[in-house]
């Protein structure tokens, strides 16, 4: 589904960010990426949604190759991915609903379909009653839920989350993590970069540790999505 083959990424000024990484992420997997700041986690994730292209090697995402993908192909592949960031990246002048609908509007989804999809995904992330709230009226955890809803609304096959809990307190972190587990349980693969080792230690998910651009530890490909075992956190 996502395959890195001898991928390296070098920046002219800062040097090597990713160094000869080969790995495969299967359908419906939940994968943690850990490692110190500057280890190359973010660059690796960026190469999945083709914000960055490898300096050498190849990244294949659902049949699209980083070597041959054109501008249009990148736009098309991103419609099948969901991307979430530490800083939420919501539009302040739009309500939660409008922020989610935005992702569908700009890809030309018809209006009636947008309304049903937005309502469904809002319920899925547990914000059914807060659709008309503006981001500033929501807590950090709630804002991240809106961002996750926006990432989910296109029914992606993989959710890419770069430090999604980096700006959140423990309680909100647990809530977001549980949400990601639920999403994974429903069949969507999750690639999540995180510093939060506590979070990982308690999990049985695949963990890939990076340092100085290289993969230094990979707990191994997991065959199927892990069942949602932990009790649901509010």
């Amino acid at each position: 589904m996502i395959r890195f083959t001898h991928v390296s990424k070098t920046y002219p000024r800062t040097g090597t960010a990713v160094d000869d990484v080969s790995l495969h992420i299967g359908k419906g997997e939940f994968v943690f990426f850990t490692g110190p700041s500057g280890a190359g986690k973010t660059t690796l994730l960026k190469m999945v949604y083709m914000e960055e292209r490898p300096s050498s090697g190849e990244v294949r995402v659902s049949g699209t190759s980083s070597v041959t993908a054109k501008h249009r192909d990148v736009a098309q592949i991103r419609r099948k991915l969901g991307i979430v960031f530490q800083d939420f990246r919501l539009l302040d002048n739009r309500t939660a609903e409008q922020n989610i609908a935005f992702a569908l509007e700009v890809t030309g989804v018809p209006r009636p379909l947008i309304i049903t999809k937005v309502a469904r995904v809002l319920t899925q992330v547990g914000l059914a009653g807060k659709g008309t709230a503006y981001p500033r009226e929501l807590s950090g955890g709630e804002q991240q839920r809106v961002a996750i809803a926006r990432a989910l609304v296109n029914d992606p096959f993989v959710l890419i989350a770069d430090e999604p809990t980096g700006n959140l307190d423990d309680r909100a972190t647990r809530g977001i993590f549980q949400l990601l587990r639920d999403i994974n349980a429903a069949g969507t693969a999750v690639m999540m970069a995180t510093h939060n080792l506590d979070l990982i230690r308690r999990q049985e998910y695949r963990t890939i540790e990076m340092n100085r651009g290289a993969v230094v530890f990979d707990s191994g490909e997991t065959a199927a999505p892990a069942p949602a075992a932990a009790p649901h956190d509010p």
Partner: protein, 282 residues
């Protein structure tokens, strides 16, 4: 499409000051363009009217038979370059001279002026070379003594007209360049004020052409609005000149429309360059 239009309009509503500022700047730049165009147009108009008076006057030797003159006039009138031929007898020449000189008509008392064949050249054949050629053919008639056609001032007129034309094109291009840069800069501000939105659009898979479209529409709208404002300013300036200085002519409907189209094109080019640069960079 509806969303694209709405997006383009939203910018005007969200940043009314910036939009007004950019339209005004565009308007002033096009206004300068318009004023220059007006000057060029009026120079041309004046030249055309001057050219109307381009005339070859062939003075006829005394004692030439009127029949011979009439025959020559008919021959000359048949030249493809010739608009019309007038025969002026000695008496008529005297009357005309007295009329033209007004108060000094006394100097002609008892004078004898030569008869002449006055040849008017068709528009389009009034350039120095053609006039000279026609004059040479007229002079070939044996009874033509001398010929006058204002050789120098035809050449000067022509040079002036060419200079006005070239200056118009050069300055016009300069102003067009300035307009493109200004529109590009204002669109750039609009792009930057929506940079976050654009980056999110890209993340969720909007195509570049989709992202570009509202800005292009905005650029065109600004170009057209700026053009309209410039037209209004130019018309106002022309009215003032007409009231206080001299009578001038204004652009006709076709040129006005072309001007607006030009404004729209400047807006399109300016915003395309500006958005294109932004999209390549992020």
């Amino acid at each position: 499409m509806k969303r694209t239009l709405r997006d383009a309009l939203i910018t005007f509503r969200r940043t009314p000051l910036l939009s007004a500022l950019s339209i005004t700047t565009i308007a002033f730049s096009l206004f300068a363009f318009g004023l220059f165009g007006l000057v060029a147009l009026n120079i041309r108009d004046a030249l055309d009217r001057l050219e109307d008076r381009v005339e070859i006057r062939a003075f006829v030797a005394e004692g030439t038979a009127p029949e011979a003159m009439a025959q020559a006039a008919a021959d000359i009138a048949a030249y493809p370059e010739v608009l019309g031929v007038v025969l002026v007898s000695q008496d008529e020449a005297l009357v005309r001279a007295k009329k033209e000189l007004g108060d000094f008509r006394d100097v002609f008392e008892g004078a004898v002026l030569p008869a002449s064949i006055d040849v008017r050249v068709k528009p389009g054949y009034r350039d120095p070379a053609t006039v000279k050629r026609v004059a040479a053919r007229v002079k070939a008639f044996s009874f033509v003594d001398d010929i006058r056609y204002g050789e120098e001032w035809i050449e000067k007129l022509y040079r002036l007209r060419n200079i006005a034309g070239i200056a118009g094109i050069v300055l016009g291009l300069a102003f067009a360049g300035v307009s493109v840069i200004i529109i590009g800069a204002t669109i750039r501000m609009a792009v930057l004020s929506r940079a976050k939105e654009i980056s999110i659009m890209r993340l969720v898979g909007a195509t570049d052409s989709y992202i570009r479209r509202p800005f292009l529409i905005e650029g065109v709208a600004k170009g057209v609005l700026g053009g309209l404002l410039a037209l209004l300013l130019t018309y106002g300036a022309r009215s003032l000149i007409n009231t206080y200085l001299i009578q001038t002519v204004f652009f006709d409907a076709r040129i006005t429309l072309l001007g607006l189209l030009f404004g729209a094109m400047l807006g399109l080019v300016g915003s395309a360059v500006s958005v294109g640069r932004h999209l390549r960079r992020i």
